[in-house]
């Protein structure tokens, strides 16, 4: 677990009060984003997102499985994220800790609650067989803002994914069809962090460590909110939440455009 260095935290705050972010960005500015898709031969869909120095890969694997008992005619979507010790010295090997689990669940809920996926179209035979779509997010280099960037990668990978061929009732992973995943909305997660009285987006690792509180807001294409998560030990006033949501909605349309371009 990262130990927060109080002196550095103070200095980040003081600089922000004077309107300066360590890397010279504006408070509502994202780092340069690069998105690449469809480069993994073993995954049904894949995306690689680079935002500043944070780099994340997401891969989609599909399988035919039994549906859940309470939703016999619906397919299953599962989004997982592992905070690999590979990507940052502060992570340790072993089962995912609370931080890792929160990242995965916030991204998962953002996509799930957006109801972007037409689950019924994933049904093959009600009660017996449905498609499951597993999206796994693996950070390569963690310099902050894994939730937003991981979510971008997950959504881009889902958009890139094509169903594998089914032959004799079995999946042939070597051949892909042209059929995309039935997704009709693009959910975008934007995390706004509060340091002192400053609200900023796309925090670097250092800024994340200095935060008082954060709010992750996931929106759908028409600007409506579908998922919210507050984090951090500090509190937020209603006015602050108001502002943070506005900022998140504003940024989400920029990001949505980038993902659609891929």
């Amino acid at each position: 677990m990262a130990i927060i260095d109080q002196e550095s935290k103070k200095h980040v705050k003081e600089s922000l009060i004077k309107g300066v972010r360590y890397d010279g960005r504006k408070k509502d500015e994202f780092r340069p984003i690069e998105i690449r898709t469809g480069f993994l031969t073993t995954a049904e869909g894949s995306a690689h997102v680079k935002c500043g120095e944070t780099e994340v890969i997401a891969g989609v694997k599909m399988a035919m499985e039994k549906p859940y008992a309470d939703t016999p005619d619906q397919g299953i979507l599962m989004v997982g994220a592992e905070l690999l010790p590979f990507s940052n010295p502060k992570y340790e090997s072993g089962p995912p800790d609370a931080v890792a689990i929160e990242v995965a669940r916030v991204i998962d809920r953002g996509i799930r609650e957006s109801k972007s996926l037409d689950n019924k179209r994933l049904c093959i035979k009600a009660g017996e067989k449905v498609w499951t779509i597993n999206v796994d997010i693996c950070p390569l280099n963690d310099d902050g803002n894994l939730i937003d960037i991981g979510s971008m990668a997950a959504v881009a990978a889902i958009l890139n994914a094509r169903f594998p061929c089914v032959e004799n009732d079995k999946v042939n992973y070597k051949k892909k069809t042209d059929e995309p995943v039935p997704i009709h909305r693009i959910p975008i997660a934007i995390t706004v962090i509060k340091i002192g009285s400053n609200l900023i987006v796309d925090p670097t690792e250092l800024e994340e460590q200095a935060l008082d509180a954060r709010l992750t807001v996931t929106t759908i294409d028409d600007g409506r909110l579908c998922s919210i998560q507050k984090g951090g030990m500090g509190t937020l006033s209603i006015e602050e939440i108001d502002k943070m949501i506005d900022l998140a909605v504003h940024k989400s349309s920029e990001i949505r455009k980038l993902i659609k371009q891929e």
Partner: protein, 274 residues
């Protein structure tokens, strides 16, 4: 019927196309990317650093700790459940031994050098690809080592010794009809290039001893080709060093006290007992 022409058209002694890059993960102390055909591995090295849990510390020298992991979407078929399975743990252990043979951690008592190998995509030969990436990453991290380690999997399929098997060759009877029912043997080997010593050797399959010995010689030759790619990746990282010198400005041999760096380096010479 024998295996006369390889499925992807390669010569029997030919490796798949390789690609390598050093320093790809900024947060790590050393890192690398290595590709052999469609098998891709990233390696990140952290250390030497303080070792936890403390009871695992070795007061005589540093510990090397390798961790091999396949990303869930990297398998040829279904999703691979995340988390260390038995196969990953075993590969981590043999990787440890393969690299431990060259690394010298005498100057880092009680510390650990963590090597993380992650594969986003595999097509056979993954443990060798991982070792190749890890060797570059260890050098990139400035870990003292007497040489790199270069690994390749050779196989015996359809009565022929094939260098650098891919997934289809590992399962040849499924992909080639009429093949005599000879077992396919898969033999991953890791070599220390300067001495020819073998630091990793495993085998699955049925072969007569002569075949194994021939395979080992082929592996050695193939590993030298891997080694060239590894060295090139490390040199490339500092490409502009080459041929540029003589300018008094590029004089980086002074430290803050105006003493030549060499003077400080002498303090370390007596620990160079590899």
């Amino acid at each position: 019927m024998d295996y006369n022409k390889r499925l992807d058209g390669r010569d029997f002694d030919e490796l798949r196309p390789m690609e390598a890059k050093a320093g790809v993960i900024k947060k790590a102390d050393g890192s690398a990317y290595f590709r052999m055909g469609n098998t891709v591995a990233y390696a990140a090295v952290y250390g030497p650093r303080e070792m936890f849990p403390k009871f695992m510390q070795n007061p005589k020298k540093g510990v090397l700790r390798c961790n091999y992991n396949m990303m869930p979407f990297s398998g040829a078929g279904e999703r691979v459940r995340p988390g260390p399975g038995r196969r990953s743990k075993e590969i981590s252990a043999v990787t440890d031994k393969a690299l431990g043979a060259v690394v010298d951690l005498i100057d880092s008592p009680n510390a650990v050098v963590d090597v993380y190998i992650e594969l986003p995509q595999t097509d056979a030969g993954s443990r060798c690809c991982g070792i190749n990436a890890a060797a570059i990453a260890l050098a990139d991290a400035g870990i003292p080592m007497r040489d790199l380690v270069s690994a390749v999997a050779v196989g015996h399929a359809g009565n022929k010794i094939c260098v650098d098997l891919d997934y289809q060759e590992e399962h040849l009877p499924e992909f080639l009809e009429g093949l005599d029912d000879h077992d396919v043997a898969d033999i991953p080997v890791a070599i220390i290039p300067s001495t020819g010593e073998i630091s990793l050797l495993q085998m699955d399959g049925i072969v007569p001893k002569e075949v194994l010995m021939k395979a080992l010689h082929k592996a050695k030759d193939a590993a030298m080709k891997v080694n060239e790619v590894q060295r090139a990746a490390l040199r490339e990282k500092f490409a502009s060093h080459i041929a540029e010198n003589g300018n008094s400005d590029s004089d980086n041999s002074y430290n803050e006290n105006g003493y030549s760096n060499d003077a400080d380096a002498t303090a370390q010479e007596d620990t160079d007992g590899i």
